[in-house]
Amino acid sequence: MQEILPYLINGVSVGGQYALIAIGYTLVYGILRLINFAHGDVFMVAGLVMVYTTTALPMYVALPLVLIATVVLGFVIERVAYKPLRTAPRMSLMISAIGVSYLIQNLAFYITGGVPQPVTVPIPWISENVLLFGQSTKRVTLVTPVLTILLVVGLVYLINHTRMGMAMRAAAKDFETAQLMGIKINAVISVTFVIGSFLAAVGALLYFTNYPSVGITSGAMPGLKAFVAAVFGGIGSIPGAVVGAFIIGLCEELIKGLGYTTFSDAFTFALLIVVLCVRPTGLFGEKVTDKV
């Protein structure tokens, strides 16, 4: 037990990071029926922006700047690459998303010269070591799940109890009828991307501050894992994405704790295959056949 405990704690933390990314996938899917393949790259860009801003600016300027830049990026991606395809077949939208993903990676390659950018100024306080159950760990490990839960609670409140949330739920079900209520669909979709990007940016701060460097494909793996978490939980469902992310995070770390580190990634993707075969709607997904 004593040996497994740090892995459990780590698992909850990793799960929180996946959850913050997974919500972005699931929100966008819920409203546009689109797997936003660029989401992992948005996460990576947030990491790069963090590296650049924290080295040049004081923390209290740098961190808000990361959030703002990422949110703007998410907003612009939707307006430029997805909005013109509103009435196009869904496949076109998906291909556009893949295009955006490669575009961002290549732009990042151009800017960084392909060299992973070292994280030289980790975020203070959360990067400090603390003792937990006799084990030394970074404080971010504890902060991540708490912050994740707080943000999820806030998001659920927004969706269930505010005017914008009501508009989002209506638009997710029926674009046309939502419009007949006076809801501006494009504004709702923009807000969805803004929220998704904001959470990804928070996730990136928590994730990369513990990381040696940020490279152009650094978003790919966490992005994919979070995507699996969203599918596992039932894509389109926010509680599903969060629960799925925590389960995957815990499982991965437990597998590492048992000494099978090489298999931890394989486990996640095997899980994806099993879920798609056995229960394609995931844990909390709706029973609609016309999906994915």
């Binding site: 739920r169 209506a170 079900k173 046309e176 009828t177 419009q179 007949l180 209520m181 006076g182 501006k184």
Partner: protein, 236 residues
Amino acid sequence: MLKIENLHVAYGGIQALRGISLEVPDGKIVTLIGANGAGKSTTLRTISGLVKAQSGSIQWNGEELLGKPIDRIISAGIAMSPEGRRVFADMTVLENLKIGAYLRRDRAEIQRDLEWVYDLFPRLKERSWQLAGTLSGGEQQMLAVGRALMSRPRLMMLDEPSLGLAPLVVQDIFSIIREINRQGVTVLLIEQNANMALKTADLAYVLETGSITLSGTGAELLANEKVKEAYLGKHS
């Protein structure tokens, strides 16, 4: 008053409306009847802004509606209860009604209109915490009408409100339509049930493949031989 002039609408290459003109005077019940695909729904969808017109004009109290975004058209006092009811199935009855007032900010007045809708449809009040998807077809239609009323429209457009409902329920729906009209809301009604629609309406238009072929008062069209033969299933 709503005044449509020479309205042309096409979907892709298909001409859905070929220059229709019609008027919906204030305080009246006006109905459009016609077969499937005649362009009835297209007319309502164009008025509400869901569909773009090629040419023509739609004037609402002298103001041009064509080219205006949907939310502006709703704010101008036009609401629509869509075909197939389209209530938000996983929201409660109360939430469905509240979302009908989405564009309004006057809380006290919204509350008053909510009471008004509950008075019109006591059944909705009983079920206000139930999910809309669990309601019967007739109750869902009442909810769709109530939801549209929550924007406090001066013109209410109803797309096939009787579709798929039992005859007794259809009677209920039509008596509610008359009641809403009595309370000062102008009604533009689309129906396959031409008999009921013509009996209810002050004015009626017959649409055939995108053109208006006949018009008159409801009573006139009820007595019209062509209408009887084509839409009322009576052979003289």
